[in-house]
């Protein structure tokens, strides 16, 4: 039941696009005493069904930039292969310490950088509007 509730909470955060997995893993290790490697495995697997549904939706809506994904996925798969094996071969203690650093940086990022994305987007639309106005004139 505890696991189910942690899943719901992380799912809500993930569904809003705020990195649900990054919060699910510490949730599992801190509140449900799940081992670090296993928590990572659980997060990877639990991402698949939700992401598949979201992917189908976005494909229908034509939101996917299919022209750029090929190269990213190819090198990404090579990276995933290396990253996964590094993770498997280092011990739980070291992985936890590394994860803590990663989590700290991601936390700072959530506070600072995402804001800029929204702002730069607004700037772009603002620029477009300005251009349109100039063209009208």
């Amino acid at each position: 039941m505890k696991l189910f509730i942690i899943g719901i909470l992380a799912g809500i955060i993930g569904g809003m696009g705020i990195g649900g997995g990054t919060i699910l893993i510490p949730g599992l290790t801190i509140f449900a005493s799940v081992e670090q490697h296993l928590a990572q495995s659980v997060n990877l697997l639990s991402f698949i069904p939700t992401a598949s549904i979201a992917l189908l939706y976005h494909l229908k809506q034509k939101n996917i930039m299919t022209n750029i994904i090929f190269y990213i996925i190819i090198s990404g798969l090579i990276g995933s292969f290396i990253g996964s094996y590094i993770s498997i071969y280092i011990n739980s203690y070291l992985l936890k310490k590394m994860f803590a650093m990663f989590l700290f940086i991601m936390g700072i990022y959530e506070i600072i950088s995402k804001q800029k994305i929204g702002e730069s987007k607004n700037e772009k639309t603002q620029n477009k509007k300005n251009k349109q106005e100039i063209q009208k004139k």
């Binding site: 696991l3 509730i5 899943g7 719901i8 909470l9 992380a10 799912g11 809500i12 993930g14 809003m16 696009g17 990195g19 649900g20 997995g21 990054t22 919060i23 699910l24 510490p26 490697h37 990572q40 495995s41 659980v42 990877l44 697997l45 639990s46 698949i48 069904p49 939700t50 992401a51 549904i53 979201a54 939101n63 996917i64 750029i68 994904i69 190269y71 996925i73 090198s75 990404g76 090579i78 990276g79 995933s80 292969f81 290396i82 990253g83 094996y85 590094i86 993770s87 498997i88 994860f99 803590a100 990663f102 989590l103 700290f104 936390g107 959530e110 506070i111 950088s113 994305i117 987007k121």
Partner: protein, 119 residues
Amino acid sequence: MANRINLLIIGFITGILNGLFGAGGGTIIVPFMVFLLGIEDHKAHATAISIILPLTVLSSIIYIKNGIFNFPTTLNVTLGSVIGGLLGAFLLNKVPIKYLRKLFGIIMIIASIRIWIIK
């Protein structure tokens, strides 16, 4: 050509981190796409899922093959996260994401310190 190399580097870094920590690939790749490739925010989020999903499937297979897998735990969490994911998508335009993001940023920092301190 330079652009193609950019894409390859972005994919590689995202893949390593997502495989190593079992999370965070999506959060990392969205700003890469927005700032380096100039893709709009909304499309970057959608495209990120299409990239992270195959990487996650590969990492999952490697984790399972090496015995890092527990069915009951995974099932319970997955059931919760699917329901939560739908709730989250529904709440997306109804809650102030801007402040929630900061709140979760703070929670992540507190959690990271806690993991660091407690052995």
